[in-house]
Symmetry: C2
Subunit: 234 residues, 2 copies
């Protein structure tokens, strides 16, 4: 058990505070001493205590409010962080070989559901791509992507036969906003064939919409091969 002593770093203080929360010395919903008091107890300064408490609050252990003080949250660690890896990285990092293939490329007027979803004018031409990502030649992810060329006209001339749209976009268009959803979908015939499974199988699916300064840029539907799971530790 970490005990207060002189010259504690903000890391030490974080650990002491966490211990006290775990041992119910500071019970859920209870109020911690003020930063000033804690600084004195730890023979530290308010700045250092502040950083420790601020980070614990960011991590979801504490709630802080001016004047009201710092409170222990009863539902601890409510935030999970997931990295959003590029498919290629996700695959190569396990030592497997990554392969990409373009399935289809079209320019066509935005369908109604897309116009509504991304808030773009009806009938505006958009780029529609379908691609596959393989790991050691086994299907890994089937990608259906829509790109609005308005904010990036050069996308229409890009060659997506060897570079995936995500790789290309990441280089060309840094996004400013992102909406990311995860859901379970049922494989239709097309998805099933590309992912080498049966129609009707449950498919872990991600939907990703990005904007650049308020302008919609791209929507991607990512269908993962059966058995995929997204995991995090904390």
């Amino acid at each position: 058990m970490a005990a207060p002593r002189a010259n504690m770093s903000y890391r030490d203080i974080k650990q002491v505070v966490l211990d006290r929360i775990h041992n119910k010395i500071w019970a859920p919903d209870s109020l911690l001493p003020s930063e000033t008091d804690l600084a004195e107890e730890f023979s530290s300064t308010r700045t250092t205590v502040n950083r420790a408490l601020r980070e614990l609050a960011e991590e979801g252990y504490l709630e802080r409010k001016r004047k009201a003080g710092t409170r222990v949250l009863n539902a601890p660690a409510r935030k999970a962080q997931f990295a959003i890896p590029l498919v290629r990285d996700e695959i190569t990092e396990t030592g497997s070989e990554y392969r990409y293939a373009l399935v289809e490329r079209n320019v066509l007027p935005a369908p109604h559901w897309l116009s509504a979803r991304m808030n773009i004018p009806q009938g505006r031409d958009v780029l529609h791509l379908r691609c596959m990502h393989y790991t050691d030649n086994a299907p890994f992810q089937y990608e259906v992507r829509w790109i609005v060329p308005d904010s990036i006209p050069e996308v229409l001339d890009a060659d997506f036969s060897s570079v995936g749209p995500n790789d290309w976009l990441v280089q060309k268009v840094p996004f400013t906003n992102l909406e990311l959803s995860f859901l379970a979908t049922k494989a239709d015939q097309t998805v099933a064939e590309f992912l080498d499974t049966q129609a009707g199988e449950p498919i872990f699916t991600a939907e990703r919409i990005t904007w650049l300064r308020g302008q919609p840029v791209t929507l991607a539907k990512l269908f993962f091969a059966p058995g995929y799971r997204m995991t995090t530790h904390l």
Copy 2:
């Protein structure tokens, strides 16, 4: 476009740096000026610049190394934060009514897969619960839970008929480690009946294992009603 001026807060500095990254003034892989130089440019102090850059690094935009300097990451390996709310909160926060029901409670020897998964001795007695969570009386989540009583003997006497196991555990046993996975599963007959759908439907599923100081505490499988999606913005 934010332009450097006097008295910039660390937030302002973050924004300016982000803008410059987006406008390729500081291209991917390139090196930023040192904190000292930036502090001078922004008529600020190194402390303030440090906080701005440190946070941008935490958010995945920059990479910082002593002596090596601060570098722009080319693949904004950005991190998505998902709240892991208590089911009850997730429901009541939308203004809907939450209802909980215990379906079944057993004490039985740990099945082999559970022993292996949670690293507990073969045949150790564990508490097995099945529960339902409803929103406005529509099925929301079907929960299958295993609790290892070793580290919390009193769990065997707990009354789970009106309090959900998660609520109970959160109050009693602060966890120290958590593994959280998301995947898509196919509804079996039981799941389908509880979630009011057809067997075979794709089900968004979460698996959650928690430990207390290295001791496994509980494993939960959470089956969400069809249509559920987990969303985050950033």
